[in-house]
Symmetry: C2
Subunit: 386 residues, 2 copies
């Protein structure tokens, strides 16, 4: 098996599973219970939260643990003073990048959000951003790394623009708050992240994309923001997210973050080399994400071919790749991201997303290139003879 879809899901390492194991079997106590072994579990949980938070330059008390990136993204939007996420507001409270993940698009739609354009290279159109910010705008959501192209957005530059607008609002006595949220799910295991340096007020991270367990994520929340909990009850996570803590999951997330951070530089170097090898070996493609993109994201366009058929044929040879984002793909929809960067229909239809990860070796990449070339050649022949 050659797995080239690490943006969709990452495996948990034996080490991460070993870290989680005692919290399933022996240290299973409810962190809210009054006796010592339970308090020890509560303390281990807080330590794990601190480890996760440190990875983005924050403190444990700055983050809210969620069931994943989607919940964290939804929670971030409760910063809006309208409060209720269940009724679409007519106002233009929200701006979000045209290439955002569905978990941003769907929640933004609830508030009548407006899209910010991207350039052909997938990078935000800063002119469009500036033009669309009004005195009503409260939240701007821009993923640090796009999940289909791997495009890295210039968040520090964006936050400078936002800071200027906030200053101007202050001068003019406009009291509407303005927050910058970023979904960094795809970035955590590949970029150094520091919330202060990025200038974000809210930041989403996910264990499932960082070689940790599925079902765990976190939202960084800056001190001046008051969120509305999506779930109320026992008052866990400082009242922002009630429910018995997913102790094993958070311990696993922390261990995964520790491992990932340790190998961050060597992994990036490795992906750069693997990408070069792959692009050198492959034939007859166009590279969609040429610039401003993480080396682990390789989006290939085979003009005139059907990517869904390619995936199916590659699957037979045990090479696993994606078209658009996994969720869009399973619903048979065309990628809104490739549309947003202006790719014509025919090229969208022939686009494959390959995302490298810790499981990949040079041998695998050479083998994958050979198989992809053969499959593509076979398809072209079939169409010529068709």
């Amino acid at each position: 098996m050659i797995y080239l879809d690490h943006a969709a899901a990452t495996p948990v390492s034996e080490k991460v599973l070993a870290a989680m194991k005692p919290y399933f079997l022996d240290d299973f106590f409810n962190p809210s219970a009054a006796y010592l072994p339970a308090k020890k579990v509560a303390s281990d949980y807080e330590m794990a939260k601190a480890t996760i938070a440190h990875a983005i330059g924050a403190k444990g008390s700055d983050i809210v643990i969620t069931a994943g990136a989607t919940e964290a993204n939804n929670l971030a939007f409760t910063a809006l003073t309208s409060g209720c996420p269940l009724e679409a507001s007519a106002g233009k409270l929200v701006l979000y990048l045209a290439t955002e993940h569905d978990s941003i698009r769907r929640v933004a739609e609830r508030y009548g959000g407006t899209e910010i354009k991207v350039q052909k290279n997938g990078v935000i159109d800063l002119g469009d951003l500036k033009a669309k910010i009004t005195d009503e705008t409260q939240l701007i959501s821009i993923a640090l790394v796009n999940n289909e192209l791997g495009t890295i957005q210039p968040l520090a530059e964006i936050s400078t623009i936002i800071r200027e607008i906030k200053l101007d609002r202050l001068k003019r006595g406009v009291k509407t708050p303005l927050y910058l949220h970023s979904d960094a799910s795809q970035a955590l295991n590949l970029l150094e992240i520091n919330v202060a340096r990025l200038g974000v007020d809210l930041l989403t991270i996910s264990a499932a994309k960082t070689y940790g367990p599925k079902g765990v994520g976190a939202l960084y929340v800056s001190h001046d923001i008051r969120l509305q909990p999506l779930t109320v009850g026992g008052g866990q996570e400082r009242g922002l997210r009630s429910g018995t803590e997913n102790v094993a999951g958070v311990i696993g997330f922390a261990e995964a973050v520790r491992e990932t951070k340790e190998h961050l530089n060597s992994n990036r170097k490795k992906y750069k080399e693997l990408k070069k090898t792959l692009l050198d070996e492959l034939q007859g493609y166009e590279l969609v994400n040429k610039k401003h993109s993480l080396d682990s994201f390789i989006v290939l366009c085979y003009n005139g071919l059907d990517a869904e058929r390619l995936i199916f044929l590659l699957e037979d040879r045990e090479v696993y790749v994606a078209t658009g984002a996994a969720c869009a793909a399973s619903k048979g929809e065309k990628s809104h991201v490739l549309k947003a960067i202006g790719l014509p229909e025919a090229e969208i239809a022939g686009s494959l997303r390959l995302t490298l990860g810790q499981t990949n070796t040079k041998e695998q990449i050479l083998e994958a290139a050979k198989i992809i070339n053969e499959v593509v050649e076979g398809e072209k022949k079939r169409l010529r003879n068709g």
Copy 2:
């Protein structure tokens, strides 16, 4: 260690962990991905959901997987036609039992809910229920088994009352819907549950209380109910709860349910015997939950003693018990449940909750009784000499 707090948390068995393991390490694929190994994961996930659903007499497509009972309880309340859970409604849309868990109380408060009284034995006061249902009432929430007393509520009887009211509404042309929700978190591993026989429209279950992993729960939703998702995004769980599926967690939940159901009768018999042994051996207590309660729940009152001090002293002897619900206890609050059944302050202060579980043996119970007797005796002596 003698653990007598199974209502707060249950351990995961080696067998459940073994069932989860491959989904962390090898079958880690995103269920939404297009290739075969991912589709296999999606199918395993659906099979696991079906197993969980069968345990309550439902189909896999009838349940929505959540991050736990609290989220399931919160999701249930979105059945209210007002829709928005973030703003308290002045209307009396919601009735809930005075002894409900905080995850019901807090969300009910958002809608300005009204409490239904319980009798001294902890069982619902049906007269009070009938008196409080108005034409505005949309949702009635009553836990199948109370989490502090183990009281079993007569849900089938309650649902008969509700059915009559619905019929009456129909006759009079009143269009307001009326739903019965039950939090069955504490019941799943100890009672045969069948949603049709209970007559519930919505039912919450939790893996964390059923020897499965923390961070997984489910809400049964009857076909005629339209919920509002708390989180939107990729459209998982039929659009009712977006986010990459917690595959390993759900597989673990299913395995735990399978094991639990297999041993349901033998466990109940075991708890009945252990309870008898314990009550025979203990001295100088009053049993708070004499009737209508699961045998695994034993609430003892030591009049004049301080339960929090007893817990602390028992902890030194490695016997772990609780006062009120774990979450209330950690905040130093007095139990609203013991208040609701009319227990005087002094007796509430001296009340211990012991909950039996699969880890307990007869030897443990004899040893625990001996230690509790000694600790109680020591405390009485100290107070006499004080």
